[in-house]
Amino acid sequence: MPLSLRRALFFLVCAVATSTLMAQDHAAAASATPAKPAIVTEDSENFDELEQGRRLFERNCASCHGLNGEGAKGPTLAQPSLPRASNYESLLRIITGGINGTEMPSAHLERKDIELVAKYVKSLSLRPHLHLAIPGDAVRGEQIYAKKGGCAQCHMLHGQGGFFGPDLSDVGSRRSPEYLRRSLVDPSADVPQSYTPWRSEISLPENFLYVRLVTRDGQELAGVRVNEDTFSIQIRQANGSIRSFFKSELAELHKDFGKSPMPSYATALATNELDDLVAFLSSLHLEK
């Protein structure tokens, strides 16, 4: 497998949303729906409340979840049931506290505003399906994933595959189809990053980061940053091996923020093959 392809398989899920505005623009373009959609409710008396919730959602949530909850960097919320929030109480809990280990932050909102957002998010489940229909065939996509795409070289699915790139076992729950398509075509468009508001305790780095380094004895190495502290850095190389260095052992250390070692699939796959692969990835959920 050529190095370029191996690198191509890294970071299927990515983007540099350099501003939330940019992410909003992407989401709006992807969904091709009105910027301010009509509110759908079974109870017309709640309309004002939902309108307040919609405004809060636009300001606080839409940059990741799309203006209409159609999903983007964050998962689609306009669906009949949410995998992590099966009821109103669990939704409140997630909005209030965020989700540890993900890019979902805790909301800096008052309780009543959190309730308004939660009610609005619940109302999204009543929407007609907002995002564009997925044109591809998931069964064919699975074949492309396994063979022509070679995705398993770097990505894990339910315990099978490589671990150089992110685990994709539930990527269908975490990313919208349009986002996945963009990630295949332009892998560096959004490298996953965290909104974690407090870097509280000793932890793994928040951002996926590709690192190139040169040791004092002239070795050139590259890999994904696994951890880094004030005096040392640990990287995972493409072959899966972990290398650890004290920074005093390094002559050069380059951090490629916002870049992915995975090149574009825009030409490596035909359009219909991309559709199939997106359909397959969108079908991936932990419940499988």
Partner: protein, 530 residues
């Protein structure tokens, strides 16, 4: 025979008296004469965290190794600075406990634990330490009691309520013992409390005075809160321990953010005495002067950072100075007798002020107030410096402080209604995607604010700093290293990976004439010696 019996009785009475803990006010004032002990939260009244001990040097520090480790029963952020008195270390542990340790072995001698009510706070039930006066220890509890403990036995002598915790008051800082009084500050700046600094009689616990940091209607300064009742929830907490100048008989204490934190619409004006240093008479609690670093703050830039008292020459003249590295990214030098602004300079990247005017007031850059949709400002809400205690070395003339740089956040505001016991912040701040702000110990020339060197850390640290006469600087990292630097150059000389985030501050002391260092990291209290 009777005389003999009387003599032996006298000996018996005399013997324990000499062995008993005894740290009178005069001994604290002269703490620099006994560097083998650590008698106040900041090591001395001036806040220097500087030790004259010089057994460990840049030359022999490579041999410094762990002597013992004490494990706390409570996990979580451990922000303590221990006290050390004559071979015994006194620690606070989360949430409301004191433990006395044998400094030689790390073995506990006694423990005092006070049950805690279900109090709330912005940042967890932390406790930063104790005050000692005479033979008693004083601790603030998270649920707003001040307790007096017999330092010999750990038995409680008195327990007084400082505030009702239910509306959002809490206490996290170490008390300050001055003369016959115990001064205590409160937390709760995110809950719409009305801030104050209190003093209590050390013997009895009787309330001595209160300085409200938000003046009431009719009092000078209340007009800086607008015509309404915003002042009643004006926050302005006093949660980090101040300093004291015995010669001027003035206590210096930093004050916190006004409330609500990010939305200043209901509190037009400068909002005195928020984001200030106040100079108070410790006998009466009367305000002598104040200096406001950030008038009408809307970025949660508390000014609780430690005000260090430094004697140095300015323009060839000896001056009594007060220096502070503020959360708002500026380093300030004041005359501590008068409060006069002498100089100030940014020590980290900031985008909210074009500079300071002749009186030290920031010259604002427009458009940096939080909005509904968010505004990007350097520094973020945690500030360029924060509560972790800095150090000052009279040998180098440098002020050493943990900082955060290349650090911005998007600030936004919304309308907030005050509900007792609930957050009252009026907005918030979010990290900027893709940014990796860095932490650094910066060495700042104390009289000019010029940064002489910085030692970069992977991320910002809440560890305090310690300076020694032998030319060493000790601090810790968020990622668990306790380390030493060359005080003149910032060159790293020694490190130890503790395995836990360091939120505590290092101290140094003598055991049987041998120099030790100690620091809390994770749930461990680590002691080091040659």
């Amino acid at each position: 025979m009777k005389i003999l019996r009387l003599l032996s009785l006298a000996a018996l009475i005399a013997m324990p008296a000499t062995a008993q803990v005894n740290v009178p006010f005069e001994r604290i004032c002269a703490s620099s004469k006994e560097p083998g002990n650590w008698l106040t939260h900041h090591g001395d009244y001036a806040g220097h965290r500087y030790s004259a001990l010089d057994q460990i040097t840049p030359t022999n520090i490579a041999s410094l190794k762990t002597a013992w480790i004490y494990q706390s029963r409570e996990a979580g952020k451990w922000e303590v600075t221990p006290l050390v008195v004559d071979g015994v270390m006194y620690l606070t542990e989360r949430p409301n406990a004191i433990t006395a340790l044998d400094c030689k072995t790390g073995r506990p001698l006694w423990n005092y634990t006070r049950p805690m009510a279900d109090a709330v706070g912005c940042c967890g039930p932390v406790n930063r330490g104790l005050a000692i006066l005479g033979d008693a220890l004083y601790m603030n509890t998270f649920d707003c009691h001040l307790v007096c403990i017999d330092a010999n036995t750990g038995k409680e002598r008195w327990d007084t309520v400082v505030a009702d915790y239910r509306p959002g008051y809490s206490m996290t800082g170490a008390p300050l013992a001055v003369k016959d009084k115990i001064l205590v500050g409160i937390s709760g700046g995110e809950f719409g409390i009305r801030g104050f600094l209190d003093a209590y009689d050390a013997k009895t616990g009787a309330h001595a005075w209160r300085f409200w940091t938000v003046p009431a209607k009719g009092e000078p300064g209340n007009e800086t809160w607008g015509a309404g009742n915003a002042w009643t929830n004006g926050a302005t907490a006093t949660w980090a321990t101040g300093t004291y100048d015995p010669a001027l008989n003035l206590v210096y204490w930093g004050t916190g953010n006004p409330g609500p934190d990010y939305n200043g619409d209901t509190r037009p004006g400068d909002n005195l005495y928020s984001c200030c240093v106040v100079a108070l008479d410790p006998d009466s609690g009367k305000l002598r002067w104040h200096f406001q670093y950030t008038p009408h703050d809307v970025h949660d830039w508390d000014s609780c950072e430690i005000p260090l008292l430094i004697d140095a020459n300015i323009d060839g003249q000896p001056r009594k100075l007060l220096a502070q590295a503020n959360r708002n990214a500026f380093f300030y030098v004041l005359d501590r007798a008068s409060g006069e602004f002498i100089t100030g300079k940014a020590f980290a990247k900031q985008t909210w002020a074009s500079g300071l005017d002749a009186k030290g007031r920031p010259i604002l850059i427009s458009g940096k107030e939080p909005t509904a949709n968010g505004v990007l400002v350097y520094p973020g809400l945690e500030g360029s410096a924060n509560w972790p205690a800095p150090a000052y070395s009279p040998r180098t003339g440098l002020f050493y402080v943990q900082t955060q740089d290349d650090y911005s956040q998007v600030y936004y505001k919304h309308k907030s209604d005050y509900n007792p016991g609930n957050n009252y912040e009026g907005g918030g701040a979010r990290n900027v995607l893709g940014e990796e702000p860095y932490g650094a110990v910066k060495a700042i020339e104390a009289t000019t604010g010029t940064v002489k060197w910085e030692f970069k850390e992977q991320s910002s640290s809440n560890a305090g700093v310690l300076a020694t006469a032998s030319g060493l600087i000790f601090s810790g990292t968020h990622d668990g290293y306790f380390y030493a630097l060359n005080a003149a150059t910032g060159e790293p000389l020694w490190r130890f990976q503790t395995g836990g985030t360091i939120h505590g501050a290092p101290v140094t002391f003598l055991v049987d004439g041998k120099q030790y260092f100690a620091i809390a990291a994770g749930a461990g209290l680590f002691a080091f010696a040659l």
